[in-house]
């Protein structure tokens, strides 16, 4: 049976990892490389690394750094932030990324999603959506690290992106980001129902029950989290254990059977 993934998200700005609340009030968390080493040593299911300053500042993806980071990563590694062209995607894949996440550029150039999926396969293209909930329950998608309101509805936008060939949706609630109050179950459920591809829920995880809820109640295929792993004693392994107890299939860590 396919396992539900627990994915630490690493947000990268300038020279280190940061974590904010509502895509704001960024706190320094520490350097990138040791964090990747630790997660890799703990055999996490997957890692997502996003350069949050790239699109805002108009920088291209830092492919040399990704090369250094991926050296330490023997699990699936998704890289996002500042991607605007197929050449950049190719160089990230050569640098050791397995999947790339596209967010801001997709609003002005959805053809890039389509071209990337055709060239590198849909499984390689993660469409990242950052959405805010307004009073009255209306939602809107934001680009440029949650600074520009695009006016798009996340459900409709997710459908469009998957029609273009996105192989996964990374869906982040701007309101819940960093709050540790739980995922936006309503938004995740609506998007997960609307698309056929896996939806990775992001934004708001504060305890293991939040992860269980977003899988069981909202239909997420994977859970991403940052603050909970940076700032509390909770771990990806602990999350998987709790999910397993709740009846959710999770990946067992490999134990060698010994050489024959």
């Amino acid at each position: 049976m396919l396992k539900v993934r627990v994915i630490p998200t690493l947000l990268w700005k300038d020279f280190g990892l940061v974590k904010g609340v509502g895509f704001d009030s960024w706190r320094r968390v520490g350097p990138v490389l040791p964090a990747i080493k630790v997660y890799n040593a703990r055999d996490v299911d997957e890692l997502i690394l996003v350069d949050i300053a790239a699109s805002q500042e108009g920088n291209a993806p830092d492919h040399d750094s990704v090369n250094d980071f991926s050296e330490e990563c023997s699990v699936p590694f998704t890289v996002g932030g500042g991607i605007t062209s197929l050449d950049q995607i190719l160089s990230l894949l050569h640098a050791g990324a397995d999947k790339i996440a596209i967010n801001t550029i997709a609003y002005s150039n959805p053809e890039l999603v389509d071209a990337a999926a055709r060239r590198f396969g849909m499984q390689c293209v993660v469409a990242s959506i950052d959405a805010r909930r307004f009073e009255g329950g209306r939602y809107s998608c934001f680009s440029h690290s949650a600074t520009i309101d695009t006016g798009r509805d996340p459900v409709e936008w997710a459908k469009e992106l998957t029609d273009c060939g996105a192989g996964e949706i990374l869906l982040t609630s701007i309101n819940r980001d960093g709050t540790m109050l739980g995922y936006d179950l309503d938004m995740v459920e609506r998007v997960a129902k609307a698309v056929d591809v896996p939806v990775i829920a992001s934004g708001g995880a504060g305890n293991y029950q939040h992860m269980i809820d977003v899988v069981q109640q909202a239909g997420a295929s994977a859970v991403a989290a940052a603050s909970i792993f940076h700032f509390t004693e909770l771990t990806p392994a602990g999350a998987k254990l709790a999910m397993q107890v709740a009846g959710i299939p999770v990946r067992r860590n490999f134990v060698s059977a010994g050489q024959k």
Partner: protein, 207 residues
């Protein structure tokens, strides 16, 4: 032991190279077919579409070189994901395309073989052995490996099906025909179990 990784312009080349370096192999990125002749093992990686993949292989002269080195000389070859699918006779992705034909079978979309779950199949899933194989030495049956694909290899003969993965339907996870191996999952991204499988491939010698 020298491994040549075929660079035909598609794929997560960086990850594959890392994984083989990690297990102590001497790695050569083969940018040209001539580079596979002095390697001991060959890996055909690949993410992407079947038709484009085969076009890249054909146009750059890989097909005839692979026939000579793998089929005639008998060097072990490991196809990964799209690289595994291209070992098949035909692909059915936007029309019918010829594959390398090293393992009889066809490549079809998951829903075409009855899968009703989300496509692509992304994540860790258990690999259930159909028979004992050198690739599985030291890896318990039903270990989890990392999959990410929308198309599947449907082998023509049962004897070539080495392991399966359940995803609503039974899907080929590992296929093998003599010295030609293919895995649908990504051993280079499957952490310790994946490293062990790559070690096993490097340690295998055809009789």
């Amino acid at each position: 032991m020298k491994i040549a990784i075929i660079n035909f312009g598609m794929g997560n080349l960086g990850s594959v190279r890392r994984a083989f370096e990690d297990i102590g192999s001497e790695v050569c990125i083969a940018n040209h077919p001539a580079a596979i002749y002095d390697a001991n093992r060959i890996v055909l990686p690949g993410v992407g579409a079947f038709t484009e993949g085969m076009a890249c292989l054909t146009n750059a002269g890989w097909v005839s070189a692979l026939h000579e080195v793998v089929i005639q000389q008998g060097k072990p070859l490991l196809g990964i994901c799209l690289g595994m699918q291209m070992l098949a006779t035909t692909g059915h992705e936007g029309g019918e395309t010829n594959g390398l034909g090293f393992i009889p079978g066809k490549v079809q979309r998951l829903d075409a073989i009855g899968c009703k779950l989300r496509i692509p199949h992304v994540g860790w899933n258990e690999v259930n052995y159909q028979k004992d194989d050198v690739l599985f030495d030291g890896i318990p049956d039903s270990s989890d490996f990392y999959f990410v694909h929308s198309y599947v290899f449907v082998p023509e003969k049962d004897e070539h099906l080495i392991a399966k993965v359940p995803y609503d339907v039974e899907v080929a996870a590992v296929v093998r025909n003599g010295n030609v191996f293919g895995c649908q999952f990504h051993p280079e991204k499957s952490s310790k179990a994946g490293r062990q499988l790559l070690k096993n491939f490097m340690g295998y010698s055809p009789c």
